[in-house]
Symmetry: C2
Subunit: 264 residues, 2 copies
């Protein structure tokens, strides 16, 4: 078993190309809409001037997203190679003055308390924390009161379902007990690492770290869509997914769960 | 388009064999557990002596289920051929003295008001009502106060998902607007008929007919299971489905939604 960042070091150069598929285009467009909604819910009328910690920032998709909309971004990731790719992207997109890149782990954030309006943890970063409690306490520490954590995590239900479909009851029982599973992609790296999976109840329980949950949504709740159809009708499918993604009864259909919590 | 009972007249002789698959074995075992729970929730400690209206009783699976546990059953169905199969089953199972069979529609029930402890509407009978409001009013009329309606209905989410997977956006939009869809099985009959599909919200809204919702569950929430695996591990899978079926976030994964409502 490897550390997550060792896996990401392996795949850094091809990481962005792995997410070119229509499914991920839809996923990212939906995430953008959810983030825009959640900032409004937290009382931020605009991205302009927000101090954003992009946690597990990887190749910088979300750092650039915030920077191009006027936020000041601190990009943090433990993977050296992923940050190298991010540096190139940041230069290409000409947002160097808006993004500061630091190599660090969520469990030890090199920032003063109450520093950020937003902690953005896309790409299931919270699932990959090695010391989950310490990471959550650090996130809360560096957020201002009223600041917002935006996150996606791996869904328990989707992994559970795969195991039951494949008939591996022992894996299912272990997933139920530990809420952890080994992940990776053998097409790209022989390294695997542990991911924490979440039920809706597990996410609600995160309020105990000193947050108030303000959003919960499934990404993606319908499908799987046929690729050509999805590419051709992306706008309509996006509208449908956006319309249904917050219905609690559909959250269990999705591979990833989006949530937003405000520091109280 | 046909009436639902015309379709069932066509398939009556092979109906029971259509439900031999492991999926339906699991489905029926899960339904039995849910019914047992729901009777307790409604304050009935035993099946013994309950007056049960088995609505859309078809070939009599559920009528016999209640009769063998000591209830007095009135089996009602508009399909003559399905009732002929039921008569044979009732004779074979030697429960003739416990089951009265009548050909009638839910919209016009030949019973006095406040007559039944239980109205059992399995097999998506409520989805197939031609005059839904009238059927619901009739069900409430013949139930005693405190009596319980046990039902399964077709899920909006599953039909919606099939249409989105198949790329038929117009069908999806029509389903969204009408909450109705054409169903049938061309392997067995050329007849098709209309089915009403339900979201969780639609089911909650049924309280407005004068009921209180006491149970809501997805049938089946994981899978699809591989047939051999499911047959071999039926008890364990049943336990898993039973454990998770009432989690609201999983109800959207199922093809059918079970619910129970008490007349208030």
């Amino acid at each position: 078993m490897a550390h997550s960042w060792e896996y990401y070091d392996d795949i850094a150069d091809i990481y962005d190309s792995m997410y070119d598929e229509p499914y991920w285009v839809l996923y990212h467009l939906l995430t953008e809409r959810l983030i825009e909604d959640d900032l409004r819910k937290a009382g931020f009328d605009s991205f302009e001037g927000l101090k954003v910690l992009d946690l597990g920032s990887g190749t910088g998709r979300w750092g650039v997203f915030f920077a191009e909309r006027g936020s000041k971004v601190w990009s943090v990731d433990p993977s050296k190679k992923m940050l190298e790719v991010q540096r190139r992207r940041v230069a290409e997109r000409k947002v160097e003055d808006k993004i500061e890149i630091l190599r660090a782990r969520a469990e030890d954030l090199p920032f003063e308390p109450n520093h950020f309006d937003v902690v953005n943890a896309q790409g299931d970063v919270l699932s990959y924390l090695e010391d989950f409690e310490r990471g959550m306490r650090e996130i809360r520490r560096v957020l201002k009161v009223g600041g917002i954590l935006l996150a996606s995590v791996d869904s328990f239900y989707d992994f559970a379902n795969s195991m039951l479909r494949e008939g591996t009851l022992l894996d299912f029982q272990s997933l139920e007990r530990l809420k952890m599973t080994e992940i990776g992609d053998l097409n790209y790296s022989l390294k695997t690492f542990m991911s924490r999976v979440f039920t809706v109840g597990d996410i609600e329980d995160l309020e105990s770290y000193g947050f108030k949950l303000v959003d919960l949504a499934g990404k993606i709740v319908f499908g799987p869509y046929e690729d050509t159809f999805l590419m051709k009708r992306m706008d309509e499918i996006l509208d449908i997914e956006y319309k249904y993604c917050r219905l609690r009864e559909l959250i269990g259909r999705s591979e990833h769960i989006h949530f937003a919590m405000v520091k109280v």
